[in-house]
Symmetry: C2
Subunit: 503 residues, 2 copies
């Protein structure tokens, strides 16, 4: 039975499809709060969860939020039909996982299909993720999940044959902009190096936020392919290319729950690499205090799982386990990191960044070209020191609609700044990634690209009492004040007190 209603659009984004019914009419129609309805308008369909309105939505009307309005292309005053919608079959699969049973590939596919069609509520998806967390997934389930995620979005296929290499870090290290060197170094050797990057979620800057200081980053998959076909590499924002689309939706649910079950982590990363068209994948697992992976043993287990799953997907995967307990560069925040990347490409920036990038390139070259790691490292260093990587980077910037004539002096942080001096002298024992992010976010990053923080010394270096330790940059006095307040509350720099107390 189709029922016809007049639409009221509410310009509110909620992260799931919802439809608002007049409460007494809903009860007459036997549509309970949180039931699922099928909505049809203008030849399009959407499934949505029922909310109630007591007065705002009259009988004969239905309210919809932004997601549904977008999906159906409807506006206030349009006509829409509703009908009750059966419970999606994939919920049986969710239940089966919660009960500890392995899922068939078709069941995994049904969950991803219903996720993509917005047929599952946030609560139902949370239950699925909790099920994977508690019950795990075997290799076949994880392969099926990865394949289903790949199939949920676009896939790149490049015009020329030859090795396609992609690099990815599981993240958590402040100012780790390795990809911005890895891509141009490898592309300058003639490899295809497609790279989708993320924006910051809880950090002060993602690679996409930093790249945005040089060029555009939001392109459809077709344009991404054209850029790589043309200049060999790219650094684009993953959120715009619609590859592995189901993964973005899963992350939206996983993130607030702080649940990162291994099968979802593995499938998330490798689905993206496969969709990017990569044949060779280099994964970086930063490990140590404050990093996502705490110890070497855990990192090695994860590395093994990545390699095994990669093999099943036809990917050659190498993993580097790196020290992730300290920031990679002494500058944090989009514009300061962009400047440091450009300086490093020019041969006068952070040695730690150059070193890490050349090592990862070395590993990749030994995987693709079967040369020794030392030989690979040396080749990469040559490309960097010889300016080939800089030239390639600026080609990529140009291909991504940026200015290839950009100079370091174009990259300056906010004019309001404040220096914090060391209250004690000593050796720096630790710089905390999470507190760094917290301070730079308080200054306005990542949305405000010109917020930033500079460290005058890194782990192991000495500071003198009263000498500068940290400098903050902001685009307004208010943001600077909030950053200073946050710096005081969450000091990122630990100085070693050799003398703990004097009695």
């Amino acid at each position: 039975m189709d029922l016809r209603f007049k639409v009221i659009v509410y310009d509110i984004e909620q992260g799931q499809n919802e439809v608002i019914l007049n409460e007494s009419q809903a009860q007459e129609l036997d549509f309970a709060l949180h039931d699922r309805l099928l909505l049809k308008a203008k030849g399009k369909k959407a499934v949505a969860i029922v909310d109630y309105s007591h007065k705002a939505v009259p009988k004969g009307g239905v309210g919809v939020f932004w997601e549904v309005a977008l999906a159906l292309g409807i506006k206030t005053g349009d006509s829409i039909t509703l009908q009750s919608c059966p419970r999606p079959a994939s919920l049986e699969a969710v239940r089966k996982k919660l009960d500890g049973k392995a899922l068939e590939p078709s069941e995994v596919q049904s969950i991803i299909a219903d996720l993509m069609a917005q047929r599952l509520s946030t609560g139902e998806l949370a239950a699925f993720i909790a099920g994977v967390h508690t019950r795990g997934m075997n290799v076949d389930e994880t392969i099926a999940l990865t394949d289903a995620i790949i199939a949920s979005g676009e896939r790149l296929k490049f015009s020329k044959d030859g090795p396609v290499i992609s690099e990815h870090s599981i993240g958590g290290v402040a100012a780790d902009r390795t990809s911005m060197l890895f891509v141009p170094i490898m592309a300058s050797m003639g490899f295809r190096v497609p790279k989708t990057c993320s924006r910051a979620i809880s950090s002060a800057a993602g690679t996409a936020d930093v790249m945005e200081l040089f060029s555009g980053v939001a392109f459809p998959a077709k344009k991404m392919k054209a850029i790589v076909d043309n200049v060999g590499g790219c650094l684009v924002w993953g959120g715009a290319v619609n590859m592995a689309a189901a993964d973005d939706k899963l992350i939206q649910i996983r993130h607030p729950l702080h649940l990162d079950p291994k099968p979802l982590l593995l499938s998330s990363i490798l689905a993206k690499k496969k969709a990017e068209g990569a044949q060779f994948v280099l994964l970086d697992i930063p490990t140590g205090q404050g990093a996502k992976v705490l110890d070497l043993e855990e990192a090695r287990l994860l590395a093994k799982d990545f390699t095994a799953l990669g093999a099943h997907l036809g990917l050659t995967v190498d993993v580097s386990i790196t020290d992730g307990s300290e920031p990679l560069m002494p500058v944090v925040g989009p514009v300061l990191e962009a400047r440091a990347v450009l300086e490093t490409l020019q041969g006068r920036g952070s040695s730690a960044l150059a070193e890490k990038a050349c090592r990862l390139c070395g590993i990749s070259l030994s995987m693709v070209r079967k040369v020794s790691f030392d030989e690979g490292y040396r080749l990469a260093k040559q490309r960097l020191d010889g300016g080939h990587a800089l030239k390639k980077f600026l080609e990529i910037v140009h291909a991504q609609d940026g200015n290839p004539k950009i100079k370091t002096d174009d990259l300056v942080p906010g004019e309001h700044h404040h220096t914090m001096d060391a209250k004690e002298g000593g050796r720096i024992r630790h710089v905390d990634n999470k507190n760094l992010s917290r301070v730079v976010r308080a200054l306005g990053a990542p949305e405000d690209h010109y917020a930033g923080l500079k460290l005058f010394a890194m782990k192991g270096e000495h500071v003198e009492k009263g000498h500068p330790l940290v400098e903050l940059y902001a685009t307004s006095k208010e943001k600077l004040a909030y950053g200073i307040e946050t710096l005081k509350a969450h000091n990122p720099v630990e100085i070693e007190n050799i003398v703990l107390d004097v009695v």
Copy 2:
């Protein structure tokens, strides 16, 4: 840092607290989608989850939905302050449960406290329920959960001393109105018999829906106590008394997920009984095809758990396991069931209902008075046959603001009706509870109290081909037509074909 905003109220009920921010302002303030904020207005506080608006909510404004407006007592144009809200500590406990560890009583309490304060999102609560489903809870955890649920709402304490008895069925049987006889029979003997009933969730009528044909059912706890102090018993809607309030919220999450983990089922029921002030509890577990519990073994295990948990809570619990595969009476729907209850109290109604009620009373009397079951059954039958139960029932109706002079002729179903004849003759093998509910809901129940269905024969009885089998009643032609359509698609009556085929 407190930020002050102008409120826009949206009259939409969503089942969780949400606050709508202007998207670009939210990003400037570093409030991500689905972050948690603390809202303050008029000396009250509420926690809410962030949604985004692109245009509807301007900078400097915040939108709130019905739940938040109610909690803070605010209206459009009022002023409100926002501040970021730390991740609730109870989420660590949710994670611990998901990781398979037993929770401390204080951790269980923190989850229930955060649930009551609306500090947990639907997804986070779904993850908790999934954790309990997959990992279970030991006895100490279940006791802590039950105690926390009891503490989340009001508790009754009666004025007089002496046994307080409560009866509860885990449900699933159509037309099972046993409580409506149990309460007056036991109360007529001088016991206190407080009873909270539910409205239908997926069935055609809950006891609260049926009782509503006689009297009011929505009373605060104080009035419920006064009714029981006054006439010895009551039959009120549990949704209005605010007892075991946390349980109502858990059920709102559990129901759409179809997750009913045993520790939540046990705590849900016994918390309500304890909050009602009961010392003796009789639990009915309908068992069999189509019931919530499928076999005797499962029912016995559940009974053991109920008895053990009850003992820890200071409750004497007896359990009756009854056949739940068939409807208890040949009439389904609020008004027809109300009429059948009144007829039975008058000594001329359903013998199955009278029989079940007297048996449950017999078990209760053997528990409270230490008489034999046979003696208890006989005493109950006397109260029913002697009209004492009817008199007490009408006293309860009067105390609940109903008309104690009500007659069966006041209880008539909708005027539109339709008879379906048997297409074949034979013995009735099975009447399906779920399909009965589906048909009567299609006719308009439970909201429309005058929708109903009458069966001309029950399991084991013979029908002749072409004789009436089912009659439907509705208050409009349209509802009747939809009921007939549903009856054809979901036939509740299976007739035994002795001759399966003739070759």
